[in-house]
Amino acid sequence: MSGSRAQAIVRWTARTVLRATVVLWASATLVFFITRLVPGDPAEAALGGPGSQASEEALDAVRQRYGFDQPLIVQYGIAMLALLRLDLGTSYALRQPVVQILADTVPGTATLAVLALLLAWAMALALTLSHTRSSRAGAAIGDTVEIVASAVPHFWLATILIAVFSTALAWFPPVSTGTPAGLVLPVVTLAVPIAGFLAHVMRGSLDEALSAPFATSAVARGETATGLRFRHALRHAALPALGLSAWAFGYLIGGAVVVETIFARPGLGRSLLQAVTVRDVPVVTGVVLVSALVYVILTVVTDALTRIIDPRIGIVTR
């Protein structure tokens, strides 16, 4: 039994790693070809764009250095080989290795996104557990809170939060300060929409679980309302929300573009925005690949967690 289980885990791991690798490779390929569609001379972009007063010789030198004069397929091969060595090239605008830029910016964004995800979960749980199934008004309020939360644009929420909590109340700094207090508003800004989505899914499955026959039989055994929620329904409610978390993390990285700009936080999102505005292709490629990597890892993690929580899926089955 345990032997076959170990085998199953090995098989699952192998399959997962293979799949993740394929997704990453495909992402890299996709990004490579998309970025080749970017209009303009890449050599010129590498020298600071058309505003620079680059000479023809300088352009030629750059073409040679980056291999822009090679056929596309050769360039692709070079890029993929470089990727294997974790070499993502050099930023046109920052004149720094992209890997270095990523190493500098990933921790900040990761902190932001992880905290936001945790807060979103906490908020969603609070919203889910506080809502009463029986009351129609309660359900309507819950619905509205969820929709508003999930619909609020980050930049608008940030604006309102700054106006209220920094300018009017002076509780939290409006820009990153490097202290925990400086993290509060950006994290809340990022967390609110996600909390809305999570709460919606959670509340749906909580309702489903509470009206399931097993809930009735639990009550018939003398289970209390609280016990029913925590011991039974919550796990069911958490499952779909867990499945959503990998997606949510990607959403957070997207949101970081806005939040990091407003709250003046260094990070992946801000690098990306800057890179897009100046068409700094290597940095864009790097950021997209990192987020794809994060997504893949998180998918694997949430998948594994789901299998742990939900014995029905199990490691053995596909």
Binding site: V22, V23, L24, A26, S27, L30, V31, I34, T35, L37, V38, P39, A140, D143, T144, I147, V148, S150, A151, V152, P153, H154, F155, W156, T159, I160, A163, T167, F197, H200, V201, G204, S211, T216, P240, L244, W247, G250, Y251, I253, G254, G255, V257, V258, T261, L272, L273, V276, T277, R279, V281, V284, V287, V288, S291, A292, Y295, V296
Partner: protein, 307 residues
């Protein structure tokens, strides 16, 4: 094997009658529909709701706070914000609709190829969608903009394409579910041709959740497009598009709050309305037939990703 009535359900309601098929209409739904209708009116005939010219500048009338003459105040060039919001509804909605349309059309194509194109096509499309999923929505939108350059059209395409993988997954599931359903089997057993089955049974049933999905998507697309405008990558001022208005208003946040608050509230209200309508369409179609997207598009964007 009788199905005894579940204790919490009024048994007489469980005996279905045609009239009870529809859920009761809630107040929220009424408000949402009224709001949506006004939005449509604003898009088609903005002059009906706001007779003034949205582009008329009155430099000496700038930064007027909300008043009777200017219910939402005036902006930095003395333009009436209410008028601009009404006149901006069209382009904002158009962006939302067009983006959703692009997203759904792309998704439909992918899903059809996946479901009807054989096992290999399904694998290819499945992998592709999985890869696209690895690109968070805003990131893929930025990639599209990187190629197309900033602007309203690029933003619309960007938002549309970035929502496609989520939709594709939902539509594919829906197609597969319908294809495996008992009623498609019944149609086969009656000797109907594959073409007839696809056209008359599979597609109508599989695509019926699309309406709800699209409604939900429009609100989200408006939000995303406005975010791109805020980042300076979408519609640009002086277009009275809401996102662009918000983007330029943020600069004046400290002195003219109304410039930020009202367009923001409108975006929020739009999403609230479309989501409410979308969810109720969803719930109704789910109550109507099991082919309803319950659980799929009930979480709509969410289960895939919210556009």
């Amino acid at each position: 094997m009788t199905h005894t009535t579940s204790p919490a359900v009024d048994p007489l309601l469980a005996v279905p009658t045609p009239g009870r098929r529809w859920r009761r209409v809630t107040l929220g739904e009424v408000v949402a529909v009224v709001f949506a209708v006004s939005l449509v009116v604003a898009s088609v005939a903005p002059g009906f709701l706001a007779p003034q010219n949205p582009a008329a500048v009155a430099p000496l009338d700038s930064f007027q706070p909300p008043s009777l003459a200017h219910p939402f105040g005036t902006d930095e060039s003395g333009r009436d914000v209410y008028t601009r919001i009404v006149h901006g509804a069209g382009s904002s909605l158009l962006i939302g609709l067009a983006a959703t349309g692009i997203g759904l059309a792309t998704a439909l194509l992918l899903a059809l190829v996946a479901v009807f194109g054989g096992r290999f096509a399904d694998a290819v499309v499945g992998r592709t969608v999985e890869v696209l999923f690895a690109f968070p929505a805003l990131l893929s939108a930025l990639l599209v903009i990187l190629v197309l350059g900033p602007g309203p059209v690029a933003a619309t395409v960007a938002v549309g394409l970035s929502t496609a993988p989520g939709y594709a997954r939902i539509i594919r599931t829906s197609l597969l579910r319908v294809r495996a359903s008992g009623y498609v089997e019944s149609a086969r057993l009656l000797g109907h041709s594959p073409a007839r089955i696809v056209l008359r049974t599979i597609l109508p049933n599989a695509l019926s959740p699309l309406l709800a999905l699209a409604t939900l998507g429009v609100g989200q697309a408006v939000v995303w497009a406005s975010s791109l405008s805020f980042l300076g990558l979408g519609a640009q001022p002086p277009a009275p598009e809401w996102g662009a208005m918000l983007a330029s208003a943020r600069v004046y946040l400290t002195t003219a709050w109304w410039l930020t608050v009202f367009p923001g509230l409108l975006i929020l209200a739009t999403t609230l309305a479309t989501t409410t309508i979308g969810r109720s369409l969803d719930a109704r179609s789910a109550g109507w037939g099991q082919s309803g997207p319950s659980g799929q598009s009930g979480q709509s964007g969410q289960s895939g990703r919210p556009s």
